[in-house]
Symmetry: C2
């Protein structure tokens, strides 16, 4: 296996997320690919939203964008379908050891997570505390509850320990977050709570 | 209301899709916005996939993309959640009067539609025959069935009349395709056919 810049992958968990060219996004993409190939779920990362200003057409099939800008995303990064459930989430890394700054998630993304849950979807965030190398899945309901009941601008690590589901790093699938979703769905989401 | 290029909107149905600056994509976006604002469903168009080659950073917050290319989409354009169902679809216009050329849909998009249905999602295409000004929703199951059972490279108009659901153009919501989904779900998708 080849890794970016020819560096050998160090599998020692404690220094795994240490800026070695691999990151959470790539690991989740690899996991989603595994889910897709093994026909477990259909979950994709949405393309980065870009506003195109200028396009050159040297030939009809070969348009070149010559001026464009990144837009602020209005939804989350990942969505798809698993066991009939609509799955929707955002993945974030933080170097903080003691808390996750809420500034990492835009207010319209919070609104989006709330709407998704209201319409019967399963929404959550995956947060990697890179310094302590811990990875958590936090249900959208718990995220919203925290925001509505706290003045703090960051979620303490202890809240993740208490409410989150610890995700392990494995060879395959890299980050098996759907296993956590199985638990979550059993406890919090009922199939028959869907509106008619 | 203002329309592009200052042209007055002609509401005469027969010449509606006559290149007046409005198109199917815009109408679906407006419809999705209506669904979102009225808390009916959360369905968004995915951003167009773009490969970024060069970026200039005049300042940290103001990155300018100076070279980029359009990528072929590997999934469909629209997805989201409605009444707990994962919704996934593609919208296409054709000037053809008698059939819809399958070249309009990439083979990996067909595969994607198949996977979505297999995992309990609701997937379909919306096709607008612009010349005759008819708009249909065709369930993904019927699309796949046609492809698997025909040598033809286009779906005849008669197949849409027989299997599709005719969509009407209204003021609000512009194209109420979720009304068609209500029918579809009742007939073809059962809530309890979801895998465990």
């Amino acid at each position: 296996m080849k890794y970016p810049k020819g560096t050998k992958r160090n599998l020692n968990k404690n220094i795994y997320y240490g800026n070695r060219g691999m990151n959470l996004e790539q690991d989740i993409n690899i996991t989603n690919e595994y889910y897709l190939i093994n026909d477990i779920a259909v979950i994709h990362k949405k393309p980065t939203p870009i506003t195109v200003n200028k396009v050159d057409y040297p030939s009809r099939i070969d348009a070149v964008i010559t001026e464009a800008h990144y837009k602020t995303p209005s939804t989350t990064d990942y969505n798809g379908v698993y066991k009939g459930f609509y799955i929707d989430f955002e993945a974030k890394e933080t170097k903080n050891k003691t808390s996750f700054p809420l500034s990492n998630i835009h207010s319209h993304q919070i609104k989006h997570i709330e709407s998704v849950i209201r319409h019967g979807g399963v929404s959550f965030i995956i947060v990697c505390f890179t310094t302590v190398n811990k990875l958590f899945l936090l249900d959208g309901n718990d995220l919203i509850w925290f925001i509505n009941n706290n003045e703090r601008k960051s979620i303490p690590f202890s809240y993740f320990l208490e409410k989150g589901i610890l995700l392990e790093y494995k060879f395959q699938p890299r980050i098996d977050y759907l296993k956590a979703i199985d638990k979550l769905v059993e406890v919090k989401y009922e199939r028959n709570n869907k509106k008619n």
